[in-house]
């Protein structure tokens, strides 16, 4: 008898080193004729045989039909094993799960993306999707920070975004992380956000990063008088089942895996203490 937890077999078709501890995998399902339809912001469960399963957001966009991409930072047993994988290694995929970004409500709006570290991964799929139909959206601003220039992911893509005149890209590194040739901002993401001070009517802000960054960034949005309904964040709390049953990723009554991972700030404000406990 089949069950929800048996993954689909997939192979590693490409490995892109991003930083010293982040690599992006390009994955292809073995049963490629079965659809894998997803929206930007959704996630999947990636299995390494005999090691385990972990949750990763899909870093590619639905338009990238050839591969599914996930960026993986090496932190624990499963991610360690993922970093040991070679081309053509067998992995398992369950999903896609979660709600994804509300693409329809983003249409026609000015968009501000705020990312930190590996938190750029879910935003990258969204940004790609937006750039595919650039004319459907208003002004685009990308604020991205990492500890050091070397810790920035998707460097090629950052260059492309910086090179475009229809996207404003602000890069920053943590104080102390700058190198002599670093020309862009130095400062923590929330501080740089405050400095660049977008206007509250700017449209929609999308935030993703480590918990502490999300927390402080949302606080800056409060200061700047942003409407909590117009701030989207994508959360990644510990998940196992991915389908709202195992009971660990809840934010109040909402399950990150099922009702999220994309939430408006308004939805989760009440439970902030329970989500972003530092």
């Amino acid at each position: 008898m089949k069950n929800l937890y048996t993954p689909r077999a997939a192979r590693v078709k490409g490995i892109v080193p991003e930083t010293r501890d982040v690599r992006t995998l390009r994955l292809a399902l073995e049963d490629a004729d079965e659809p894998f339809d997803f929206a930007p912001g959704q996630f999947l469960e990636l299995s390494v045989p005999r090691v385990g399963e972990a949750t990763f957001c899909i870093a590619s966009c639905p338009g990238d039909t050839e591969h599914i991409e996930c960026s993986v930072k090496r932190v624990g047993a499963v991610t360690e094993a993922i970093h040991m994988l070679d081309l053509e290694s067998l992995v398992g995929i369950r999903g896609p799960y979660g709600n994804g970004f509300p693409m329809e409500t983003l249409k026609g709006k000015d968009l501000l993306f705020v990312g930190g570290g590996i938190g750029l991964a879910p935003l990258r799929g969204l940004i790609r999707e937006v750039l595919r139909a650039r004319d459907d959206y208003g002004a685009l601003t990308i604020l991205y920070g990492a500890r050091t220039p070397a810790d920035m992911v998707y460097k090629d893509e950052l260059d492309v975004w910086q090179g475009r005149d229809d996207v404003r890209t602000v890069l920053t590194v943590d104080p102390g992380g700058e190198t002599p040739d670093w020309k862009a901002e130095v400062g923590y993401v929330p501080d740089v956000l405050r400095k660049t001070a977008p206007k509250p009517d700017a449209g929609v802000a999308v935030v993703c990063g480590p918990p502490i960054m999300i927390r402080l960034t949302l606080a800056v949005f409060d200061e700047l008088d942003f409407d909590a309904e117009c701030i989207l964040t994508t959360l990644e709390l510990k998940m196992k089942c991915g389908i709202g049953q195992c009971g660990r990723c809840n934010v109040g009554p909402l399950y990150v895996c099922k009702d999220g991972p994309v939430f408006t700030y308004a939805q989760i404000k009440e439970f902030m203490e329970d989500i972003l406990h530092i």
């Binding site: 008898m1 090691v51 399963e53 932190v75 047993a77 709390l237 709202g244 990723c249 809840n250 329970d274």
Partner: protein, 321 residues
């Protein structure tokens, strides 16, 4: 129809040839639901059992699939023989309907669904609540029939009034006329009056989310999983790798590893926030999501709590603030 214990016993002996029978049995002076080999094993006159019957629907350990050279081979957790659960209390039977909301919702769990389908539940109306039982405070009744296929109503002298509640129940008791499936009012009233513990689940429990109350009442909690493991509605699980297989097993929300990610972040790192989440999950979030409190008032959390700090007291105390 009135049946005597030995009549039912003889029937169980017959059923044992083709079915697995789960019933309360006495072990070391306490009562547990176990698969029985003979009707003689059954503790007919039990009051409350230590474990609930949830383990027969959500197994404590379930192999999901095993690795093969080229992929993943699912493993069935459904036993061949159909199962009858005898003498389940109304609280435990009702808990299944509550768990159904999670496991038979928009993404039905095949194993759970099959085990539900596979099992017939013959309940036992409750005339022996103890001081921790509070089913009537959370929408249940000691004479409730929710989740059952048949119910036995004790009439004294080791006899039972057998009522059929579903086709599955009829298959077990083909001789019982199915025209009457109501529990007599007299029994209901007497049984409900025997429930001594009453708790109040405040309507505005959400308002207390930020209260210091949670720090105070969780102080002595040991963060063990005893209450979750015995709770008939607690269903949180973990998915782990064991040898060549992946396994689903019970987990508990007070555990240090429940919400901690590999990178170290734990969104419920402090004891009080776990304790609070546990209470809210049952009495606030579950009602919001599924329209029913995820507690059946069986009293196990209080009865067995190592430090006598049961959930019932935690939720009951919220209103007192």
């Amino acid at each position: 129809m009135i049946a005597k214990r030995d009549q039912l016993g003889a029937q169980i002996a017959e059923l044992l040839e083709t079915m697995e029978i789960v019933a309360p049995v006495r072990e070391r002076g306490r009562v547990y639901f176990r698969a029985v080999r003979s009707p003689d094993d059954i503790a007919w006159d039990y009051g409350t059992s230590v474990n609930s019957i949830k383990e027969f629907f959500l197994p404590p350990r379930q192999v999901l699939f095993c690795y093969t050279s080229g992929g993943f081979k699912p493993v069935s957790a459904v036993p061949e023989k159909p199962r009858v659960i005898f003498l389940a209390r109304p609280c435990d039977a009702r808990a299944l309907n509550i768990m159904d909301k999670v496991f038979l919702g928009d993404r039905p769990d095949e194993t759970y669904a099959a085990l539900r389908e596979h099992a017939t539940i013959v309940g036992l109306a409750c005339d022996r609540p103890d001081q921790h039982c509070f089913c009537t405070s959370v929408g249940g009744s000691p004479a409730g029939t929710e989740g059952m296929d048949a119910i036995l109503i004790p009439t004294g002298d080791g006899s039972y009034d057998v009522k059929i509640l579903s086709d599955k129940g009829r298959a077990i008791f083909p001789d019982v006329p199915g025209d009457d499936s109501t529990v007599p009012d007299e029994f209901v009233q007497k049984a409900e009056a025997a429930i001594r513990r009453h708790i109040t689940v405040p309507d505005n429990i959400r308002d207390s989310f930020a209260s210091d109350y949670w720090r105070e009442v969780s102080e002595t909690c040991l963060k063990c999983g005893l209450c979750s493991h015995l709770c008939p509605t607690c269903h949180c699980f973990d998915i782990v790798e064991e040898g060549d297989c992946r396994v689903r097993c019970w987990d508990y929300c007070q555990s240090d590893t429940f919400t901690r990610i590999a990178a170290g972040h734990d969104h419920r790192a402090e004891k009080f926030s776990r304790c609070r989440n546990r209470v809210y999950h049952k009495f606030d979030y579950y009602p919001e999501n599924f329209g029913v409190v995820a507690c059946v008032g069986c009293g196990r959390c209080a009865r067995h709590c190592p430090v006598n700090n049961g959930i019932a007291d935690l939720v009951n105390g919220v209103d007192a603030r």
